[in-house]
């Protein structure tokens, strides 16, 4: 057996779109069409390639993240690979048993109890009865539904329902697992657990195809990434590059970054930056949207400077100044800087939508003006929050909590 788990060649899927395909055809329409047919030239039915010329290969044990906008063909790809629907052209070759999870809780019946649904759903996902029995306790433990095991699931809270559904799915033991955006489940704590479980699955050497809008999850779980754009492969390679390209595509293409006027060769300058991360799993130059974050800028000085102030700014890639704050107007005493290496810590909270941002830091001293201004490299990667659906945060610049209540 070779090492290839999935090989896809020139896969394409054509959908007919427009009024006809949207609603199911009634027999009358079909009869009328058949009668009219001889008297009419063939109308061109509007079509759409949901997937076109898609070729790639996945090795055994590889965890491939699939990203792209809504409608880019991610789900169609998984549907074809899990044999739910047929490709229009091209072919795929799959070595091993496939378990696919296009939706969690598929086939759950509200009238049945949690226990009964575990068996039903397990069977639907392709598990054998004895496998379900063997894993039963693990599934129940993981779902944390405890005493409600014998309650019909229609009485469950939506959180409990999702937890149970995810637990069954998480214990699916196929060689190849295809997962479509199912991690946005339950509260933050359970999500962490889900991520952990997915990490376990990946670590066990199983092949995983993972579709998500959650870039943080993709970057944590996957080494390789596939970026689909309008049904075609835009990029296939390392996960971080795929994510970077995807995010770049979202931010305006014209990268009118703040002008680079910094005096890089000066005797006092910023040389690097990083985030002081609470979560070591986060990539180094990133933060999670809306979380408290500390940026550490390293400043090297070959001389003494008295009464200095720092100005910190965040820009969007299209050159909009999003945030600017000076140490002085934030109420800090002026700094006296000695010769040597210093760290400038910037504490803040960025309620920005996910994407790449430009940090900008400069140093001033009274009487001397600007000593250094640095357009920080690399850029800051703001990751979407695990507890919100990313799609929602694409609208607008900010990703901030909004309380909306109905008051009688």
């Amino acid at each position: 057996m070779n090492d290839i788990a999935i090989r896809v060649k020139g896969l394409g899927k054509l959908y007919r779109i427009g009024a006809k395909a949207e609603r199911y055809q009634s027999l009358r329409d079909a009869l009328v069409d058949a009668l009219k047919a001889p008297f009419r030239r063939k109308e061109a039915v509007p079509t759409l390639w949901a997937l076109k010329d898609v070729s790639f290969a996945v090795n055994h044990g590889e965890v491939l993240g699939i990203i792209g906008r809504n409608g880019a063909g991610k789900s169609t790809l998984l549907k074809i690979l899990s044999r739910i629907t047929d490709p229009t052209e091209g072919c795929a070759e799959i070595h091993g048993r496939v378990g696919s999870l296009l939706e969690i809780g598929t086939g759950f019946h509200p009238e049945l109890t949690g226990r009964e649904n575990i068996f039903l759903n397990g069977a639907i996902l392709g598990m054998k009865k004895r496998d379900i029995e063997r894993q039963f306790d693990a599934i129940v433990d993981f779902s944390e539904i405890g005493q409600f095991l014998d309650t019909p699931v229609k009485h469950y809270s939506s959180g409990m329902f999702m937890r149970l559904a995810f637990s069954v799915a998480a214990h699916l033991e196929s060689d190849i697992l295809m997962v479509d955006e199912v991690l946005a489940v339950g509260d933050a704590k359970f999500q962490k657990k889900c991520m952990g479980k997915m990490g376990d699955v990946a670590a066990k050497g199983r092949t995983v195809l993972f579709v998500s809008h959650n870039m943080a999850a993709i970057q944590r779980l996957c080494r390789t990434g596939l970026y689909l754009d309008a049904g075609r492969i835009n990029y296939c390679g390392s996960a971080s590059e795929a994510v970077a390209r995807y995010q770049k595509a979202f931010v305006s293409d014209g990268a009118a970054v703040p002008d680079e006027r910094s005096v890089r060769e000066g005797d006092i300058r910023f040389i690097r930056w990083e985030t002081i991360r609470a979560d070591p799993l986060l990539p180094p130059h990133s933060c999670q949207s809306r979380d408290q974050v500390v940026f550490k800028f390293t400043l090297v000085s070959r001389r003494r400077v008295n009464e200095a102030a720092v100005l910190f700014a965040v820009w969007s890639l299209d050159g909009t100044l999003l945030l600017a704050a000076g140490s002085r107007d934030q109420g800090r005493e002026p700094f006296d800087i000695q010769e040597g290496t210093h760290s400038v810590l910037v504490r803040t909270r960025l309620p920005l939508k996910a994407g790449l941002y430009q940090l900008d830091i400069s140093l001033y001293a009274s009487g001397l003006g600007q000593l250094d201004r640095w357009t920080a490299e690399p850029r800051l990667n703001v990751l979407p929050r695990l507890d919100t659906q990313l799609a929602e945060s694409w609208h607008g610049l900010l990703n901030e909590e909004v309380g909306i209540d109905l008051v009688e």
Binding site: M1, Y15, Y24, Q25, S26, L27, R28, A30, H60, K79, I80, L81, S82, R83, I84, T85, D86, P87, T88, E89, G90, C91, A92, E93, I94, H95, G96, R97, V98, S100, L102, E103, T106, G107, H109, E111, L112, E116, F119, L120, A123, I124, L125, G126, K128, K129, D131, R134, Q135, D137, A138, D141, F142, H171, E173, D175, D200, K204, G205, R206
Partner: protein, 285 residues
Amino acid sequence: MSSVESKTGDARTDRVFFIEPAQGRLSLKLLELWEARELLFFLVWRDLKVRYKQTVLGAAWAILQPVMTMVVFSVFFGRLAKVPSDGLPYPVFVFTALLPWQLFAYALTESSNSLVGNQNLLSKVYFPRLVFPLAPLLAGLVDFTIAFVVLLALMAFYGIVPTLAILTLPLLVLLAILTAMAVGLWLSALNVQYRDVRYTIPFLTQFWLLATPIAYSSSLVPEPWRALLGLNPMAGVVEGFRWALLGKGGGSVSQLVISTAIVGILLIGGLVYFHRMERTFADRV
């Protein structure tokens, strides 16, 4: 939990699937169907469980339905219209025919709506599509078995002792199931594309009920035409039931042969049509 998983975690099945655009190839994927037998069992179990959970009377419905119909038929056709019943007590005469009929009607209706009714599964999970129309057939058998006990009681009440012919009963039940399956395959696949089918089914079963010698006997039909009644496979089944259990009836061997042949043709056609359409179910439903 992880210790158990690691045991099987590495075991790769050496199976290769090829995914290609639909071609004319005809394979019914029987191996796959066999592998899905547990799922089939669970779907049958789900249907029964849900049906009985949501109703107050539960499994009693399996008995009540045919019994009520029998009472109504006995009063109107047996008592008032005095429909001849081949010398048998009318209630037994009609009940014996109603049992396979109800099995058939239930199986046909549920099977025809099975794909549309399981839309969610159809578009989100893959397993052999044949499982959908098959599950209701088996669920119907459970109801049939329950109601069969009533029939035995009724026969005992009228002092009817079945002959050895009762041994052919499983074959007749099979014929009823296959008839439902044959028509169910056609209708379920058509239903995906044309939702009109759903509304046609109640009408179809009603019409079919009248065309089947349930309330009356085949012997009402003049001799040369009687074998033609077998064009309706359920006629063969129903008269076969009467012969197997009660030892009498207006059926004939030629009728049964014609019925079987018709079912065979319908079934093969249904399987081919279903197979041809199944690749598009997920896109169309």
